[in-house]
Amino acid sequence: MEVFHNLLMGFSIAITPLNLLFALFGVLAGTIIGALPGIGPPTGVAILMPLTFGMNPTTAMIMLAGIYYGAMYGGTITSVLINVPGESSSVMTAVEGYQMALKGRAGVALGIATIGSFVAGTFGVILLTLISPILAEFALKFGPPQYFALMFLGLVTLTSLSGGNSVKGFMMTLIGLLLAMVGMDSITGRPRFIMGNLQLLNGFDFLPAAMGLFGISEVLVTMEGPMKMEMQKASLKFKDVWPKAADWAASKWAIVRGTVVGFAIGILPGAGATLASFGSYAVEKKFSKHPEEFGHGAIEGVAGPESANNSASAAAMVPLLTLGIPSSATTAILMGAMMMYGLRPGPLLFDTNPDLVWGLIASMYIGNVILVIMNIGMIPAFVSVLRTPISILMPLIVVFTLVGSYSANNNLFDVWVMLGFGIAGYFMRKFGYPPAPIVLALVLGSNTERTLRQSLMMSRGSLGIFFSEPIVVTLMTVTLVILIAPVIGMVMKYARNRRTPGGAQAGGGTGEA
């Protein structure tokens, strides 16, 4: 009951006109920042932080957090419309959502993403309200061996994410992993494979890679075809852009699963919204009755990941508020902001500043409602972007990726990296090499290697550390099952085929009766 009392107090703080106004401003700015490529939530929050100096800390935090979860809604827009992920957690949406847009279903993709985001965001805040301390304890259980098991699971599912020729998918994964090795080795602190280029010390950032592999390559492929496209004829009437009954039926469980997966991964420090959206995509493909549709505009592939990144952004507030530990770049900045307001983020924050914590939590409920209303209302306007003639839209997309890849680190080198990936991506697309595994391997690669080496350092070389504790054992078992399942499946199929005549007769008999 104390929770409800606290939450009520939170709402009494969040509902004041001033706080409402700044919540609105925050989520609006967040949506725009999420949509702009290169400028992700961490940069967005950092840039707008000076506006909050001199404000009451609660109001300031309400606005800054609004930018954070608002950006999760905004990232969808450019992914769906122009195949350029606005920020990293929307990469999977660029894969699936853009295919929907090509079929004239951009509005449906945006609609389902908005609803999924709302459901997941709100559910995430409810969990944050009710059981933060327990969740925080769970998150702490994740040390290097647990992370390694998680990343390993990610890598194993990753190769299954790409359709087509499996050798090609595997090769792209390996290329991505090798590229992830470039730069400073975070264990020894020495550079590897940089070929004397200091720009490579930080390795290949995955956002420019994603912009090139998805955005630029798509532009080039589009330039081959006629300058009139199906997607331009999409109706803007609200009832046409709104998801139909069949879309709901296909998406509702994807949203639920995305919410759960997103929250579970989101509370882990260092994993975050990006991994959450990948995880959800993998889960959807596994659960789907028609996995072959993935990569060609499967609505579950938008609904799941978009829900996951929103519940993950709510989950990321758990370690920040309960432990005073920033679990992602964005929450690190939120923490820095708190310190500038003279607060002491830490395990005691709930006790020392209940008004701030509960006001912030309450404002997240309100912010999600504002976002869902705003985004749904704007869908026709967003979709109308696609009416721009192709010969203008495509160069504009290129401009967008150029400026975006520069702004991510304010570094011209990244623009060249983006271009290189773009041109490589064009040929990959032409010859049936899937781009998504490269991007995902870039994200997972260095973390997988680092956590493996850390784990073995901790155990002084013994592999037993990967089979020593319930979480690791569970994750490792799941991974092994996924690895072995196709083999078992093949054996079963073989066995069934041998018995086919009898089986078919029996089936036919019941059908007639």
Binding site: P50, L140, G143, G189, L198, L201, P269, P347
Partner: protein, 328 residues
């Protein structure tokens, strides 16, 4: 038809130029006459970033300079990307950057001192010194430094010691500590201070280094215990925490937090920046919200003293790194 296309192109070009010149050219007057780019060579959210944003906020609030500082993150390569960027801005007084000891250690450990070196920048001022604290979990069996050292002596290389990558300050400090105490630890490197603290709280590590702003709030909540601070004297803000020296281990290490400008700027311009930084360190907001809140030691040095100080420190680091086998 052809003609008109060229006309269009020409007109647009002219308009582009006129428009941009109007926006770009500014009346030249006294320095600074436009905003100054304040480069943070690390990602948003870290200690350097916090400091830079705090400085920019105070400059803004107290009108220390007629123009604002605009914080820009140029992360990468443990600070070397931002550093090489500022190095290329020869003679441009509108670019400054935050400096931490990576500016000294990274060129050394990566063997790139010929291209990347602090002498290719203009040191402006040293602002503060940050502390290193030896931290264990609250329920740890080690109540004090002595117990930790004894445990390490009894079983060499078993105590899991966390910090940032090998060659970083955390690891150098661990090596010095181990050497002076005559023990060996099992050092496990992580990517950031946040990760180290998380792993400590989760019971994956036994002992770690942390800056006071990371450690103090956890200590107050009785999640961790601070065994000692790597300073010769106890901290004013935390007088109950013993020093390593009191424990018979004479290790002294502080993190330098300072400001550099681009190379080749005029003396007058350097003086303006120097004076502005002095004014900053005298401001009460700085003293209270940054120095005190983060348990830092205020330490102002002007350009000349700072340069000398860096030179000494570099020689010291070099000797240490050689001794540790990181440098050949």
């Amino acid at each position: 038809m052809k003609k008109s296309r060229f006309l269009v192109a020409g007109l647009t070009l002219v308009a582009l130029f006129i428009g941009m010149f109007a926006g770009g050219v500014l009346a030249k007057s006294d320095y600074p006459s436009r905003p100054i780019e304040f480069v943070v060579p690390f990602n948003p959210g870290g200690g350097s970033d916090n400091m830079a944003r705090m400085i920019a906020a105070i400059y803004d609030k107290e009108r220390i300079l007629p123009q604002p500082l605009v914080v820009v993150n140029k992360a990468g390569g443990s600070g070397s990307v931002g550093m090489s960027y500022v190095q290329t801005k020869n003679g441009d007084p509108y670019v400054i950057m935050t400096a931490v000891p990576q500016v000294l250690t990274v060129p050394l450990t990566t063997g790139s001192t010929d291209v990347l070196h602090w002498t290719k920048l203009t040191p402006i001022a040293l602002l503060a010194l940050d502390e290193f604290m030896l931290v264990v979990r609250y329920d740890s069996p080690y109540q004090n430094v002595k117990e930790l050292v004894n445990a390490a002596k009894a079983a060499p290389k078993t105590i899991k010691f966390g910090g940032s990558e090998v060659g970083s300050e955390d690891s150098i400090l661990t090596d010095i500590f181990a050497q002076k105490a005559g023990v060996q630890f099992n050092y496990i490197p992580f990517k950031s201070g946040g990760e180290v603290m998380t792993a400590l709280l989760g019971g994956h590590l036994d002992v770690v280094w942390a800056n006071p702003n990371e450690a103090m709030s956890q200590m107050e909540a009785k999640k961790v215990r601070v065994l000692a601070v790597a300073n010769r004297e106890r901290l004013k803000g935390a007088p109950n925490i013993p020093t390593l020296k009191e424990n018979g281990i004479d290790v002294h290490w502080q993190m330098l937090r300072g400001i550099f400008a681009a190379p080749g700027i005029k003396d007058a311009e350097r003086k303006v920046l120097e004076k502005a930084m002095k004014k900053l360190t005298d401001s009460p907001t700085w003293k209270k919200d940054f120095i005190e809140a983060n348990f830092l030691t205020p330490k102002y040095m002007d350009s000349k003293a700072y340069a000398q100080f860096l030179k000494d420190k570099e020689a010291e680091y070099k000797a240490i790194l050689k001794n540790l086998g990181v440098l050949k």
